[in-house]
Symmetry: none
Subunit: 188 residues, 4 copies
């Protein structure tokens, strides 16, 4: 190759996009993103053919990051309660620690710029946590429902819990534990 694509630049664009979208929403201009990344506006398009492609990449990669973070240290050894607590704790803490990424994801989640295939890829990557939730829920109120339902409910709860943890960092641990108990009671 004449000159390999600059991986740092790509990441720099992604980081700027996260920041700007968190701040200004999806209407953040590609030129503004490029500028914030210290890259000429035209160059953004050598890394992402369209704005939509950038948005899908953003969604996919940040979701994957969250999933990896959640799965890290998750062991089959412990009981379901312990495993779910691990998942819950890491999930909400990741969100509380990454407010811009969370805000960006919130925008993208309701956008139809994010393709169905992208959402499916995320779902596939989340298989581990999703399975855990379903195992916990298998005898609870949702026992006869679409298995995806439990996962979706947990996700929405995690999101809301994280919101409150972000807003009131001093209470974060308490909120995390209380909402976990709320969740545990709900699922079983």
């Amino acid at each position: 190759m004449a000159r390999p694509k600059n991986e740092e630049r790509r990441q720099s664009i992604i980081d700027s996009a996260i920041r700007l979208i968190a701040r200004e929403g999806l209407s953040a201009a590609t030129a503004a993103i490029a500028k914030e990344a210290g890259v000429p506006n035209g160059s953004l398009f050598t890394y992402f053919a369209t704005k939509a492609e950038l948005l899908n990449t953003l969604y996919l990669e940040v979701k994957q990051e969250l999933i990896s973070f959640v799965e890290d240290g998750l062991s089959d050894a412990g009981g379901e309660h312990e495993q779910l607590l691990h998942l819950w704790t890491r999930w909400t803490h990741w969100g509380a620690a990454n407010p811009e990424k969370r805000q960006m994801l919130a925008q993208l989640s309701v956008s139809d710029e994010v393709l169905e295939t992208t959402r499916e890829a995320v779902l596939a990557a989340a298989q581990g946590p999703v399975n855990l939730v379903q195992r916990v829920a298998r005898q609870g109120a949702l026992r006869n429902q679409d298995p995806a339902l439990a996962g979706a409910l947990v996700e929405s709860l995690a999101d809301t819990a994280t919101d409150f943890m972000s807003r009131d960092p001093e209470q974060a641990e308490q909120i995390c534990l209380a909402t976990f108990e709320f969740l545990w009671n709900a699922l079983r």
Copy 2:
């Protein structure tokens, strides 16, 4: 005085805005909204001074409609279980029956075009349901947390439950009841 003469036109603009924003997101053009409403583009601004005002009105009025619908038939007479079930049923059914309004609200909920004052007005209007939820939750896992937390968690659950009911109308009743049980277990 506050409201211009033609109430029908105003409503027609609101209806079109709901439809278009559900379909195209917040980037729906005011001219397109006016056209769909059968109103000259300039006239939209005699009803709503700015696009942001239209958006805030949309958010406020539709949320109020939802709240009214939920409260309709809600009586202090019944027990907490009965009352919460009533709330849950009507909430989710309203959403399932009004997909465009739900989609529009989803867009607006993450937008910073919706002012804090507007959100507060909605919260104030929702006092009844919110109080009910807090009463149910007063001895549960959330007993020592910010009272708003319980409300927010319930809202996010309702939203997700409605999603699934919309997608699978034949199972809607089952989903409604199962998620209610899920909620009840969580709150208590």
Copy 3:
């Protein structure tokens, strides 16, 4: 109407477009056309929804102008020779007198921005001259061919004759008459 569209502005845009396209080809920028017309760039699009629409309008209206000019004074009274000479003279003189319009038409004639429907509309408008040519040609070499062929051949000859008349204005009359004789011999 609140404010009627300004017909003068429309014409001014068309005139500028003719001039610029003659000078720079179809790649002439809409902003440059607007500027030359003394109109804000955005306003061009209140008169022509897209550049393609402007181009089609240009083609249609200038062709119609040429046709009108050619037909002006054309009378059924005279013989075929006299009528065809009238047509030929006015056709070539219009072209020689309107070099920018001719150059613009030359660009558009080979462009696929000009829609088939536009070309058909021009053909329909040219019925009078086309019929005359076909009448003259009815016993000549083209007698058994697609009637459109005669028309097309005459058009291409007229175009070339006009070229030479433009380039050498002093010989214009001679060229006009000589090429008419050439044409007359060919058709009969």
Copy 4:
């Protein structure tokens, strides 16, 4: 020295350029041409210093190809009628058989990217056919005109005749002969 090593690549670029320009006009991107030719975009510029140079090369080489094809088999032996018929037949058939090259030439013919020197080179190369036409025309209607006029008129006729032959291949032979008769009558 003048030509870089890889003659095949050069030709491949030319072929792709013909195809793409026929399809999309002169605005065909150099990168798209290179891609269609299976050549890296930067490499196009080792064969043609600028896009304009590519365009001029295209015009020159394809015109030369046409001229060679027309002259092939043309012998001074036959009479003028026979020679002109030979020229006419091969000219129109080449066009009918090479629609993309014809379309590309049509675009370039009206473009000011093609330099005057290039056009002169083509004219020089076409001396044989041009002389033949002038010989035939020396006592006809054009006898006192710029000798180039006869050549230009014949070229425009050939182009139009070829159009009709392309569109209606079954009638191609008839059209060729009928238009030749048309031409013969005109010139003499």
